[in-house]
């Protein structure tokens, strides 16, 4: 068994942060493998799955709406049902929402502007495998780059998610008009997580911030634990 836990990074037609994500995960000790959307299974001993950013299927109909029909998504759903950690970044977050694996929907940014800059994010919940390395309330600086990242839930759903502790990250500054400034949410079981900011673009202080590594290194750790766990 490899000491580097295997993380599957999905590649859809139109994904464009797949290689950045794989590079960042590799730098943090993972054996990141790119997995084409037409595959019907995940690589052996996959310990975590990442749905990267981009514009899968040209963002046709709604962002992420078509990707949920990709053959590989059935394998991802089974992996998530089995408790495996699944991370969706930007378009990956949109796909997970459209697939019903995460709650809410992502809409056009309030100001119609494509937001592309570093933003400050507050960690609301550290009781997920993705944020386990963060302190409660810790502020992270991670870039966003999206036109349709305004997360939405109606009042009732929002209340339920807040009570269940599923609102994991919030923008600490005005970003895109998300309800409650939510930047990242997890599922009820806390093993599927999506966020609009791009941690894979913030793993080296040379590029402005290394804060994304806190999230991705935690994912690598979770993948390692899952791979080592007896089947």
């Amino acid at each position: 068994m490899s000491l580097r836990p295997r993380i599957a990074v999905l590649v859809f037609p139109g994904s464009n942060d797949d290689r950045d994500a794989a590079w960042a995960l590799g730098a943090l000790g993972a054996d990141a493998q790119l997995v084409w959307h037409a595959e019907t299974g995940l690589p052996r001993e996959t310990g975590a799955v990442v749905l990267p950013g981009g514009f899968s299927y040209g963002d046709y109909l709604r962002c992420g709406a078509i990707a949920r029909f990709a053959p590989v998504l059935d394998a991802v759903r089974a992996f998530a049902d089995d408790g495996g950690p699944v991370l969706g970044i930007c378009n990956g977050f949109q796909i997970l929402c459209e697939a019903g694996l995460l709650p809410g929907a992502l809409r056009r940014n309030r100001d119609l502007e494509f937001v592309c800059r570093d933003v400050r994010i507050a960690v609301e919940r550290t009781d997920t495998v993705f944020t386990a390395r963060c302190e409660p309330g810790q502020e992270l600086t991670i870039p966003v780059k999206h036109g349709e990242g305004s997360w939405y839930a109606d009042e009732q759903l929002y209340g339920e998610l807040e009570a269940a502790g599923q609102l994991v990250l919030r923008y600490a500054e005005d970003c895109n008009g998300s309800v409650g400034d939510v930047a990242g949410v997890c599922n009820e079981r806390r093993n599927v997580f999506g966020l609009m900011p791009h941690p894979e673009h913030a793993v080296d202080p040379l590029l402005g911030s290394g804060d994304g590594a806190l999230l991705l290194a935690a994912l690598v750790e979770a993948a390692r634990e899952r791979t080592l766990a007896p089947a």
Binding site: R62, A65, E98, A105, N109, R110, D154
Partner: protein, 80 residues
């Protein structure tokens, strides 16, 4: 059977695209308000009756064409 599906941002949901279109129309001198921008999908559906076509289209909307969290839909069936 020719079916037209209209998908709109749900009532009460902010529609920045509609607002921008409205602002632009005003700049052209038009006196308009309440602009909302949605999506139109034309379909040929094999069905024996308009009701059957409508039922199918409703399922399509719920399963793919609209996101029920943020969008509402309306279906028009063209009688032949």
């Amino acid at each position: 059977m020719r079916v037209t599906v209209l998908v709109r941002p749900k009532q009460g949901i902010l529609d920045p695209q509609g607002e921008a279109v409205e602002g632009s129309l005003r700049k052209l001198g038009f006196s308009v308000g309440g602009a909302r921008v949605g999506r139109l999908v034309d379909l040929d559906i094999e069905a024996r009756t308009p009701d059957e076509a409508k039922t199918q289209a409703e399922r399509m909307c719920r399963e793919l064409l609209a996101n029920p969290l943020i969008e509402s839909f309306e279906i028009e069936v063209e009688e032949e």
